[in-house]
């Protein structure tokens, strides 16, 4: 609850700073301080120190897992703001509002990580989405930004419709919005022991969540929106927000879906989602000319891997998805942080970056290697957990093998950037790169490698 309240308060504070503080530069610092406080508050709650004692009437259930994910999300946001805060200021005139919206998104994330009721899921998703519609369209003069915002909004609203239909049907089947359903007293003759309306509703809900996590074939919005949105916000959307959607989806899978597994083979449906996501994400990414758009497809491809956790739903999945979200978010934030400094977003724009900006190139390479899943980077451990979770179920081996084949294919487009940076010659144009930015990047790379070598640091030390 700490995170929800403080993040919303911080959002309001940021709204008012625009009136109170005239220097736009200081917004970033305020936001950083706020995020830092938020992180501390959340960690405190992880350690059972609650600032507010709110009776949520079982609407929210603050589990260690959820709170821990909050920490990851907040910490990632902190790193994100530290690295790309300056770029946020350059997006438009409403700088403090952007920060406010980011805090509202964090509030939504905090809700999603701890919801225990479909109503909270719905609200969380909406609180998450609405600020993003705006951030997507925040570059108002830019037609691409406009288009992206419109597409995102319309399709997001459409998926909300699907979600509501699903929730309604689920309610019809079970008579409750809570995730915990008393299944001992069946009403009427059930379909294989489970309410059929609930299954139908869950299917709709699954589609809607698949849309949010951009799992194919519900991913179509992702490339366009990520491409059109201002790059700084793409970075935010593609990482932290997507991770939160996954955590929400995971919870749904662990409760309602796992309980109805007897009547409907969710694993089969998920395997379809996974395979198509891997295919669409990886294959389509290959042909992209713009790194930004490639990263959008890459986020789809990575989602394919994260879906493994939702497929297998065991202890490896649970810890793994935390590691995956952290690894994926950090790496992608790093790549976007470098991307926003580039003047040309095409692969050719990166030609020869290693010569002119060795630090940027090196960190970018580490991030890309992590996304590819090379050992000693966090990305490997993340992929390792995902694969292990599926292997542990001892079924759907073909899916694992398909997965690793696509992981190898993903190297194709990630390594294109590395090839451009290191092996090709060119004069890449970059914005001014400050020393502190470089330091930040190096720290980021350090964290990625640290997590790759000692994933326990994240999973044990921070967790407990």
């Amino acid at each position: 609850m700490n995170a929800i309240i403080i993040s919303s308060v911080l959002g309001i504070v940021m709204m008012f700073t625009s009136f109170l503080v005239s220097n736009t530069k200081s917004y970033r610092h305020i936001a950083v301080v706020g995020l830092f406080l938020l992180l501390i508050a959340n960690i405190l709650e992880t350690h059972s120190i609650k600032i507010w004692n709110v009776n949520t009437a079982n609407m929210l259930a603050f589990t260690r897992f959820g709170l821990f994910f909050n920490s990851i999300a907040i910490a990632s946001t902190l790193i994100y703001v530290l690295l790309t805060g300056k770029e946020i200021e350059r997006t438009g005139t409403h700088v403090s509002e952007y920060f406010a919206l980011i805090f509202f998104v964090l509030c939504g994330i905090a809700i999603l990580s701890s919801y225990n009721n479909l109503l909270m899921l719905f609200l969380g998703i909406e609180i998450l989405s609405i600020p993003l519609y705006i951030l997507t369209g925040s570059d108002k003069r830019n037609l691409k930004s406009n288009e992206a915002a419109l597409k995102y909004f319309l399709m997001g609203a459409f998926s909300t419709g699907l979600m509501l239909m699903g929730i309604a049907l689920m309610y019809g089947g079970t008579g409750t919005f809570g995730l915990e359903v008393n299944r001992t007293a069946p009403a009427g003759t059930l379909y294989l022991g489970v309410s059929f309306l609930e299954i139908t509703g869950l299917l709709f809900l699954m589609v809607s969540m698949a849309f949010k996590v951009s799992a194919a074939p519900f991913h179509f919005w992702t490339p366009d929106v990520y491409d059109g949105a201002p790059t700084v916000f793409t970075s935010f959307m593609a990482t932290i927000v997507k991770a939160a959607a996954f955590i929400a989806f995971l919870k749904l899978c662990q409760t309602r879906m796992a309980e109805t597994q007897g009547a409907i083979d969710w694993k089969l449906l998920f395997s379809i989602l996974i395979i198509s996501t891997l295919i669409f994400g990886n294959i389509t990414a290959i042909f992209q000319q713009s790194v930004k758009r490639m990263l959008a497809y890459s986020s789809i491809a990575q989602a394919g891997f994260m879906l493994f956790a939702l497929f297998s739903l065991n202890d490896f999945a649970q810890t793994g998805i935390l590691l995956y979200t952290a690894a994926y978010s950090l790496a992608t934030i790093g790549i976007f942080a470098v991307l926003v400094k580039m003047k040309d977003y095409t692969f050719e724009g990166y030609n020869g970056l290693a010569k002119t900006q060795p630090v940027l190139a090196a960190v970018n390479a580490v991030c890309l290697l992590s996304l590819t899943g090379i050992p000693l980077t966090a990305g490997f451990m993340a992929k390792y957990y995902m694969l292990a979770s599926v292997v542990k179920t001892n079924t759907y081996t073909w899916m694992v093998i398909t997965g690793v084949v696509f992981a190898a294919i993903s190297a194709y487009y990630y390594f294109r950037v590395i090839q451009a940076m290191y092996f090709k010659n060119g004069e890449p144009e970059t914005e001014h790169v400050s020393g502190s930015f470089k330091t930040g990047l190096v720290v980021l790379a350090g964290i990625i490698i640290l997590l790759g070598i000692f994933p326990q640091v994240l999973l044990n030390w921070f967790y407990f």
């Binding site: 050992p375 292997v391 694992v400």
Partner: protein, 479 residues
Amino acid sequence: MIAVLLILIPTLSGFISFFIKNNQGAKAFALLSSCITLAVALMGVYCSGNSYLHYDAAWLTDLGSRFTLNLDGMSKMLCLLNAVSLPIIISSTYKNNYESSGSFYGFMLLTQTGMMGVFLAADCLLFYFFWELALIPAYFLCSKWGGERRIAVTFKFFIYTFIGSLLMLVGILFLYFKTPDHSFAIQSFYNVKLSSGEENFIFWLFFIAFAIKMPVFPFHTWQPDTYEQAPTSVTMLLSGVMVKMGLYAVIRWLIPVFPHAANHFSNLIILLSVIGMLYASLIAIRQDDLKRLIAYSSIAHIGLMCAAIFASNKSGMQGVMLQMFNHGINIIGLWIVADAIEKQLGTRKFSELGGLAQRAPSLAILLMLMALANIALPLTNAFIGEFLMFSGLFKYNIWFAAAAGICIILAAVYTLNMVQKIFFGNTAALTATANDSSLNINMALIILAITVIVLGVYPQPMLQLTNDTVQAVFAPNPP
């Protein structure tokens, strides 16, 4: 202690090397550090005792993995090969100036680390880590300092091996969940009980990874291109040491873990290997490019080693062990010559060479020696290895041995072709003004040549060194 040092020294010096801006300094530093590694490896060969050869530390304990290193005979031998090759490579290419040497030698040392780790790891996950880590610096080396088509070619190499190793990862995970104590320790893997269906399936997941690395026909197509395009010193490292990773892994991880599957598929694999040998030898005959010829020759030799492993008898296995070392030495020698020629004359085409023996007699003699080792002439090291391997293969099946034996003839054909076209005959336009090889190249080649002869006459130390591994592989219950 020694086990850790073998990994630590190249790692640290590799990272330090990145920050050395001075080209000469980087070279000297890399040479120094590789010599220290060599000294440590030699100590490892002569040391015994668990405290020196075994290292164990908690690492990913939650996952059931530990940082366990172990040096047994085969590891010692391959670590020695790894440690020997780098100083030789660096010294033989000492005159080559690479752009940003610091990074170049840093990557070289890191590659060495990765390969050391593969040879030392006694924990499957750790093994996998190093397996991949050896690849990444090699990728950078080839792509940055390689030939004209380097980017595409190296990427093919990368993706090829990457797919293989990811498949292996799946296999490792499968095995992990089958281990009784959920551990990646080698011992647990040896104890794993599988149904025959599972065993056959996982066997292939592993084998494909190793087959790509070795490479075994038909997974070999990355190799000639990569060897051709990579800078020669990297090619030496790749062909001299890195391909041994595949063979090593088969002996260490595949045969003991999947004895039944290995037995079951041995016919098929040996058949593939033998086909590959003949195939590569025939193609080598038609090569006009020195580097490609050596590459195909290497495929043929590796094919024999692979076949001998799966012949699964002791003499064959001993031969493989010995030959792993010998092949490394010999092929590095050949590459040194290739590099000397290419650096001086700017071509590797036989059609543009000829008569070099008149201009570069010492190079000619040393190449001749290496070429003879390449065709396994008696009293060169390769003879012993091939003799043992063939005898093993013969015991397995006469016809495979006979078919593989044809490669002995074909090897003579292409190797002598090469010698003749480069060194004999009249000088061509390019070679008319060539100079003899420089001192550092000669020194490196002479060291290799002495090794070739000494091991060819007196292979006993090497055979004894690896004997414990051979015995262990064929023990009724693997160690």
